[in-house]
Amino acid sequence: MLEVQNLSMRFGGLLAVDGVSLDVKEREIVSIIGPNGAGKTTVFNCMSGFYKPSGGKIIFEGREVQGIPDYKISRLGMVRTFQHVRLFTQMSVVENLLVAQHRHLNTNMLAGLFGTPNYKERERKALDRAAYWLERVGLLDLANRDAGNLAYGQQRRLEIARCMVTEPKLLMLDEPAAGLNPAETKELNQLIVSLKEDYNVSVVLIEHDMSLVMDISDRINVINQGRPLASGTPEEIRHNDDVINAYLGEA
């Protein structure tokens, strides 16, 4: 469903990403790994429309999407999270989820002012969807707390819930396990697998936690210094000499 062909991104004299390709099929978890500064997040930023790539193609569901503005990309069904949690901290937890459903709501101002049936109906559905996902990530009791007051692990889960209420087809997670303790990482592991199994979402994952990556990925792409190093199943990657030298290290 997603195909990235020969992507490159140049910042002035620096070629941050050079010839990276990857493809994601329906209901598949694909990981991108590599050392710090390898260009993983830059690839994400290109895919999600924050950067306009200098070269290459990004094809989502048969349509070229490179260079399309970020908010339109997410409306197509490609939604991302961030390496550092980016919540609307002064808004309540449930409001965070309502904002995310903006495109599902009736945003006509007059409809809202007069409270037309269509407006109320969509607003109610949005609340129900928010309640469903809060329950799913175990935050229902905290629905009216300020998002900024949640514990770190909860904020991470809320960020994923916030992506899921937009009903995406492809979810891009940028280091979702960063800063989580082993128990929380395990929960996250199960959550991501369930997103794939139960909600038919494809996932692209950037992560440094190798146990998580090896556990849940269907395929792995390794990037080093902006260039593709290897790609394959977790088993192949684990035994690839180049990858071991550049990133994994000798056991």
Partner: protein, 423 residues
């Protein structure tokens, strides 16, 4: 530690001297056509020195003073009490608000004409502050040129009445819509800007509008302003002693009561009250709608908002447009109340005062902004006796507020949303 304290105290005392001595220590006196500089009386100089000593003592022993202050019991009678239950509080608040509005409807019949006039001004500021609250408090866009939209509303009415002879009721929507349109047009170039940069550009826009009004003498009359702006009519009834326009009747003749200048003032007050209530209700509704949440999301984190499918252009422009729309509303009422407007009414200080109202009230909080609008407009009037020091007192009050209550009088509270458990 102690030495540091004394050095700091000495510094503060010297600053006090530097600031207060030139203001209080020298007098300019007009003798005939010459102005002479005379020194102050000994008592003033002693007072200044005493003040400096007081500052020194307070700063030197500040910590112990603060501890003593903290020990004072019952300074805040509400301290330590449990916050009220959510549903109870909402109910109480709506009752109190309804009560205030009903009281405000009857109040002008009990008090003097001057008070009603002042109250009308307060209501105009409430409208302005509620509008700016959308831009600054909710959308987080620091707008220092807000007064421009106020001017657009006022001048729209003044010019249309002068050249076409349009009435207040026609001008009200036109003025508001034109101001809204101006807001949208000015919004386009600043879409990419945030924070300080945005503040500077909007400041520039505010000045452009004022200077344009000042210099386009053929159309606006320049610094002479525009006079003879008609007062609002009630279903074609005028409030003047004599009828100005063909086909209108006069209010006092229709109802067979003696003419009184107060009728007009009270009528204007009631119009302003109704418009202010409408403004508050509409914006309150916006805050609970997708557009209101989008404004806040943009304020909180623009990148996250965009990644979730919010268009920065649409959200920012809607905030600018709606804020400007209500400024246009207020401007039309202002023009009608004054009967005369000139660019002098729309200087930067006005923008600053409206912004101060929003910040003092608590960004995003409607009730807080309304309270602050009342306080900021009325306090300088009450302090008329100290006319020379009015702005000084105003400034000091702001500094104290920001030190002790930076979140504003009544900080914004999240709306409680009840969810039904799913599945």
């Amino acid at each position: 530690m102690a030495a540091n304290n004394y050095r700091h105290a000495l510094f503060c005392a010297i600053v006090t001297l530097i600031i207060s001595f030139p203001i209080l220590g020298f007098n300019l006196e007009a003798k005939g056509i010459n102005i002479t500089l005379t020194g102050a009386t000994t008592s003033t100089i002693i007072a200044v020195i005493l003040a400096a000593v007081a500052v020194f003592v307070f700063q030197a022993f500040r910590d112990s003073f603060m501890v003593m202050l903290g020990k004072l019991p019952n300074l805040n009678p509400l301290a330590g009490k449990e916050p009220m239950e959510q549903s109870k509080r909402v109910k109480l608040e709506s009752w109190v608000l309804t009560g205030i509005v009903v009281f405000a409807l009857f109040w002008p019949f009990l008090v003097s004409r001057g008070s009603v006039d002042l109250a009308t001004l307060v209501l105009i500021y409430i409208m302005l502050a509620l509008g700016l609250n959308v831009v600054v408090g909710l959308a987080g866009l620091l707008d220092l040129g807000y007064v421009a939209f106020y001017a657009v509303g006022a001048y729209t009415f003044a010019l249309l009445s002068q050249y076409i002879g349009i009435s207040f009721w026609m001008a009200l929507p036109i003025g508001a819509l034109l101001a809204g349109l101006t807001g949208m047009i000015l919004g386009f170039p600043v879409l990419r800007l945030r924070g300080d940069y945005l503040a500077i550009v909007t400041l520039g826009f505010g000045e452009i509008i004022r200077i344009l009004l000042n210099n386009w003498t053929t159309l606006t009359g320049g610094p002479n302003g525009i006079g003879g702006i008609p007062e609002p009519t009630l279903f074609g009834m005028e409030f003047g002693r004599r009828i100005k326009e063909e086909g209108n009747t006069s209010f006092h003749e229709t109802f067979g009561i003696a003419y009184s200048g107060e009728h007009k003032v009270i009528f204007l007050y009631l119009i302003a009250l109704v418009l202010a209530v409408i403004t508050a209700l509409i914006i309150r509704r916006f805050m609970r709608m997708p557009v209101g949440r989008a404004w806040e999301a943009l304020r909180e984190d623009e990148i996250a908002a965009r990644s979730l499918g919010l268009s920065r252009t649409a959200v920012k422009l809607s905030a600018f447009t709606i804020g400007a729309f209500f400024a246009g509303f207020a401007g039309t009422v202002f023009a009608s109340k004054q009967g005369f407007i000139s660019p002098e009414s729309f200087v930067f200080l006005e923008s600053a005062i409206i912004l101060a109202i929003v910040v003092l009230g608590g960004m995003g909080s409607q009730l807080g902004v309304i309270l602050a609008a009342i306080a900021v407009t009325i306090l300088p009037e009450l302090a008329r006796e100290f006319s020379e020091y009015r702005m000084l007192i105003f400034g000091a009050a702001m500094v104290l507020m920001m030190v002790w209550r930076p979140q504003g009088l009544l900080p914004m509270r999240r709306i409680h949303i009840t969810l039904n458990k799913q599945g």
